[in-house]
Symmetry: C2
Subunit: 226 residues, 2 copies
DNA sequence: TCAATGGTTATTGTCGACAATGGCGCCGGG
DNA sequence: CCCGGCGCCATTGTCGACAATAACCATTGA
């Protein structure tokens, strides 16, 4: 989504890291499956050295789970894990929205407004609905997080949590069943940011993510009603 | 503080990771200084392979900064970085305190109360003040974070942010100049947790960290009054 | 004297091979 | 028939060597 995928730049370990991360997130490699270093090295055409470095980085992002002398397996998120992540998202993205309302530049706000307009148009035309519900939604949040201008916060949300959220969406092919409501909430958040109302922006963002979490909890109950 | 330092367990890369992290946090290796892979390999008596893995992990924790084909240098925190971190801490530890008030077991609450009692005693006797202000303070927060029972939250705070905070404290030899107030705030937080008042615990924790941040901002202004 | 350019050198990036550990299946005994 | 021990094998952990890149310095020209 955001990260550069130019295969001719940087180092080998960096490229295999990007590709492997993408394959994991998109479910090309089945969640929970064991992956052998030798297999992966062959698959990506590199030696085990750079591959191991990529594995270590993905391990610290919780996309891979490693057990010494046993092997590495792709992380498989449970519903509980996802609920935990959403609690953290609520706190962090609430902070981000508040900071964004105070610190976003006029250009950033304009870009955000434009992005939202595009989403609303897509929604009206019933075009590319799946895209909006997946990457489009993340794009919106992505902009606001960047607007916080807090590098630590950006790193934690974009660099760590979002890959897990994306993986989950692919894993359970979650088509958010409340796109209109979500879009409406997005609109109100943007309005708060445009008005530079930090408290309101934070409140609305927290509520927005909180509702998304409740939605997931409902789905979980329906699928496995104990 | 928390991580096992048993040098006879796990893998070489894990051990050199722990030792290197400790040396960086404690300032044994000067912040901002360049570190050569060959030098470090010799220093810890390992090959460059495991060392590189340790470097990658410390890099993703922002304790090391790497530039391809140029070198690795120890991160040196700016005041701005620290302020950013404290904003994130405020959001995350506020969440943690709220969750702790709801989810901590009776044993955990008892242990927390006992820890606080020890700190108050140390404070009264003016014993080991430096310790309280450094590791002791972190111990208190550490317990509450663990009490949140949210693995993602624990990982982000303990696994990532706290090492940076610790490094900063060593780097600027910050002796918190408001230990009595901090201790009093700790007491009130514990009372809220004992009363299972989640909202109050969150509010008090946020205020506690917010005040610590303001304290740092004051110090920064005094040292470099523009 | 200064700047540009070339070579040299130190450092990192990559690779293949060897060592060590844990899992798995076979075999024997109860 | 079941259980425990033993040995093989696959996989990971570690190492040293080679290749590639960028910084540094000296030299030369203006």
């Amino acid at each position: 989504m955001n990260e550069v995928l130019v295969d001719s730049s940087r180092t080998l370990a960096d490229r295999v890291f990007s590709r492997l991360q993408d394959d994991i997130v998109r479910g090309v490699i089945a969640p929970g499956s064991k992956v052998s270093e030798t297999d992966l090295a062959g698959r990506y055409g590199v030696s085990r050295g750079p591959l191991r470095e990529a594995i270590r980085r993905l391990e610290s992002r919780k996309l891979l789970e490693r057990e010494v002398h046993v092997g590495t397996r792709v992380a498989s998120l449970s519903f509980d894990d996802l609920i935990e992540i959403y609690h953290v998202r609520e706190a962090l993205e609430g902070l981000a929205a508040g900071l964004a309302a105070r610190l976003m530049t006029a250009e950033e706000v304009a870009g955000l407004t434009e992005l939202l307009g595009q989403h609303e148009q897509q929604q009206d035309l019933r075009h590319d609905t799946a895209y909006f519900q997946r990457e489009g939604d993340l794009d919106f949040h992505y902009r606001i997080i960047q607007g916080s201008h807090n590098r630590t916060l950006i790193r934690m949300l974009i660099g760590e949590l979002y890959h897990l959220v994306r993986m989950y969406r692919y894993q359970f092919s979650t088509v958010a069943n409340r796109p209109q409501k979500a879009l409406h909430e997005h609109r109100r958040i943007v309005e708060a940011i445009e008005a530079r109302d930090a408290e309101m922006a934070e409140l609305l963002m927290r509520r927005h993510i909180s509702r998304a979490r409740e939605n997931i909890e409902q789905q979980a109950q329906q699928r496995s009603p104990q």
